[in-house]
């Protein structure tokens, strides 16, 4: 629906009331990331903690959502339980198209329900249901029940949490339609603290298209680009798991709690091995013909006399790195079994894997004992890791309770900070070098997707601080524009500025085109300002000692270069976030 304002549904779980707000600013904030920051400015509180009931949980889409292929993701923004500052997370599944066809630019949830609740919204619907009977249900079981109690099969999205979100883990995720997630920074707990077990979005409307041939012709062109070119083929084929072998060859694959950056056993959990031995089928987010969801198949004998069960477990590069390589689990099926447990608990698999890797090394070094870990954690021992993941989701003792709040928080208490692989949050799967470590360590949402530092490392071995910094800022800003649309990051090679402008014009947003770069800068500053106001000190961000001890294809990490880049980036962040508000 083309509008020059944002149509926002605001649901108050405390009062039970819902409002539809028409909020101006399409030409200033565009949608997605920009709209989310604007909505947090309106509905959020700088001076209250993340768990204040009035803090908003925000879901936004952008002007191109549903109109073009791979404009298929949703931005989720909230004050994070992980660091008590503003953050974002992105997911597809059917969430983005469901919001589009529910005729909403954004859904904002404020307040806290008295009992565990499920919310259903659609173009002509908003209701809450008491689902206290689902307390403790895992994320997959929850989806099965929700499918029955709300209508709309085939045209809805079901976003739900597992026990980890109910138990307020700082890295509980939101499961979106089984195979995708708002994974990182604790979105699941942003729901859980509101007693919100699930949100069902019914995409039950449609809209007239602009007259003429420009739009369908452009759709066809973009569809062809995204389904026939080489650059997308890897996502469709092996998926992101294709990265295991090349990163291993570059000695950039974090392995065994980053004690190593490669291993001869990596091939056993490569994308090729996963495909050959476990790949059942692909699936897609709605609106994406590339279909990068890879579903692995595990067969298990659970009882004597030939009693088998089967599991379908989504896998990607990051889950394999965190729950395979970091734990030295080198059997693909065993990695899938660990991922299945984590999926059900509703934990972010990246943080869970890295946390358990730290715990394994800490146990090995005698920093902690089995009194804390409850299990004899051992590299490669998948059964033990599966039980440990459950301890983490529940959590079953004070140690796991603290570990579920963040690996570094736990290490500060028990010891072992030097080898806690935390760059703002538990690391992503790239030991490519200094630029990535700084990019993730200081980045806006501590994600490898904030800016392509991991790609820069692989192409540059010159130690040029200004050049690297310039890259991080420019690349970061370009990604922000895509995050406002909201496009899948995998399409960034196709949706360059020219094509985005053409796309916007073809559906009636042509007048925005002059200002895409300005909007990118504005949103970049807004997001930093929000985080800095909530206490972020990038100049105090630390990169743990483990990162100074590793070797990549370029040789040992250059600590001086890394520190110089860290200081320079921190200084720029402080500048960007301190910029005064523009006069409206």
């Amino acid at each position: 629906m083309i509008r020059d304002f944002f149509r926002v549904m605001v649901v108050n779980l405390t009062t039970g009331r819902t409002n539809i707000e028409n909020i101006p600013g399409r030409d200033e904030f565009l949608g997605g990331s920009g709209l989310a920051a604007r909505l947090f400015e309106i509905y959020g509180f700088i001076d209250r903690d993340w768990d204040d009931p009035e803090q908003p949980l925000i879901f936004t889409i952008g002007p191109l959502t549903g109109y073009f292929p791979l404009m298929s993701k949703t931005c989720c923004a909230f004050r994070s339980p992980y660091h008590n500052q503003y953050t974002e997370s992105y997911a597809g599944g059917k969430s983005a198209l469901s919001l589009r066809f529910a005729d909403l630019d954004a859904l904002v949830v404020i307040g806290r329900a008295e009992r565990l609740t499920a919310l259903c919204v659609g173009s002509r619907r908003v209701e809450t249901r008491d689902v206290e009977y689902l307390r403790g249900f895992d994320a997959l079981q929850t989806g099965r029940v929700l499918r029955k109690i709300f209508p709309g099969s085939g045209r809805r999205s079901i976003m739900r949490i597992g026990p980890a979100g109910e138990n307020l883990s700082a890295y509980a995720c939101i499961n979106v339609d089984t195979f995708r997630h708002f994974g990182r920074m604790g979105g699941g707990t942003a729901m859980g603290v509101k007693n919100l077990k699930a949100i069902c979005i019914l995409g039950d409307r449609g809209f007239p298209l602009p007259e003429g041939k420009a739009y369908p012709k452009l759709y066809k062109h973009i569809y062809e680009q995204l389904t026939t070119t080489e650059m997308m083929a890897k996502y469709h084929g092996l998926g992101t798991a294709v990265n295991i072998n090349p990163l291993n060859a570059l000695q950039s694959l974090p392995w065994k709690n980053l004690q190593q950056t490669s291993s001869p056993d990596a091939v056993k959990i490569s994308g090729e091995t996963f495909a050959d031995d476990t790949l059942l089928r692909n699936a897609a987010c709605a609106g994406c013909p590339v279909g990068c969801i890879h579903v692995g198949f595990v067969r298990e004998q659970f009882q004597t006399n030939n009693q088998y069960l089967y599991r379908q477990v989504g896998y990607d590069y990051e889950p394999i790195f965190s729950c395979g390589g970091m734990l030295e689990v080198t059997d693909a099926s065993e990695v899938l079994r660990i991922l299945d447990v984590i999926e059900k608990e509703g934990l972010d698999c990246m943080s869970a894997g890295v946390a358990l890797a730290w715990a394994t090394e800490a146990l090995e070094k005698g920093v902690i004992t089995e009194k804390e870990t409850l299990e004899p954690l051992k590299w490669g021992d998948s059964e033990t890791y599966m039980r440990a993941a459950e301890h983490l989701g529940r959590p079953d003792n004070d140690f796991y309770r603290l570990l579920a709040q963040g690996t570094m928080k736990c290490a500060r208490e028990y010891g072992g900070e030097d080898f806690a692989c935390v760059l703002g949050q538990e690391m992503a799967g790239y030991a490519t070098g200094e630029v990535f470590f700084v990019a993730e360590g200081l980045g806006f949402r501590h994600s490898h997707l904030d800016a392509g530092g991991y790609a820069y490392d692989q192409k540059h071995d010159e130690k040029d601080v200004d050049k690297a910094l310039g890259f991080l800022l420019k690349d970061g800003r370009e990604r922000i524009v895509l995050n406002c649309m909201v496009g899948c990051m995998f399409s960034r090679g196709v949706y360059k500025e020219d094509l985005l402008a053409e796309a916007l014009a073809s559906i009636g947003y042509g007048e925005l085109n002059g200002s895409l770069d300005d909007i990118g800068k504005r949103v970049q500053r807004m997001r930093w300002r929000l985080r800095l106001q909530m206490g972020y000190r990038p100049d105090e961000a630390k990169i743990p000692k483990r990162y100074t001890e590793i070797t990549t294809w370029k040789g040992p990490v250059d600590v001086d270069y890394m520190e110089a880049l860290r200081r320079a980036y921190a200084a720029r962040i402080l500048e960007m976030g301190a910029a005064p508000e523009e006069e409206s």
Binding site: G66, Y67, P69, L97, R100, F101, S123, R124, G143, R144, R147, S153, G154, R155, D177, T178, F179, G203, D204, R205, G206, F207, P208, L209, Y215, P216, Y219, Y223, T227, H236, R281, N282, A283, A284, C285, A286, G287, C288, P289, V290, G291, I293, V295, Q312
Partner: protein
């Protein structure tokens, strides 16, 4: 005369590109509902996908139920739709044995007209057009 068949749904990835193509090209709308083909899971995403489409009945119960001739029998199967004759009574959707007709909020019916424009937009070649057996001279039906 051909009909659309969802012949290889075991390959379906649930991208909805077919629905979006039908809505865009045939009905000139942005929608995954207002289309002659609609995709849903068979009961959760782990069970795979099914496509709800017109199965090209002859005789077509929806045409029989239509009081104005907005839906009329297509010679070899399925219906021809003339939207300006539609009075939005909704009887066609009720008559369809496989729930292939979608009614929007204003009770406008959307049904597959077997034009095949969606086929090119399936990345996995799940859809195809097949030749229908020709209706004999005795059987009633319009030319296409």
């Amino acid at each position: 005369m051909k009909a659309l068949r969802a012949a290889r749904m075991e390959r379906c990835i649930g991208c909805h590109s077919c629905s979006l193509a039908c809505a865009r090209q045939v009905h000139k709308v942005l929608s995954w509902n207002k289309a002659g083909i609609r995709i849903s899971s068979s009961g959760g995403l782990t069970t795979g996908f099914e496509a709800r489409i017109c199965l090209a009945c002859r005789p077509a119960p929806c045409a029989a139920a239509c009081p104005t001739g907005s839906l009329s029998q297509r010679r070899d199967g399925g219906v021809i739709q003339k939207k300006d004759l539609c009075i939005r009574c909704g009887q066609c959707a009720e008559a369809c044995p496989v729930d292939a007709i979608f009614l929007d909020h204003q009770v406008n019916p959307y049904v597959c007209i077997h034009c095949g424009q969606c086929v090119a937009y399936c990345p996995h070649d799940c859809l195809e057009m097949v030749e229908l057996p020709r209706a004999s001279a005795k059987e009633e039906g319009n030319d296409d």
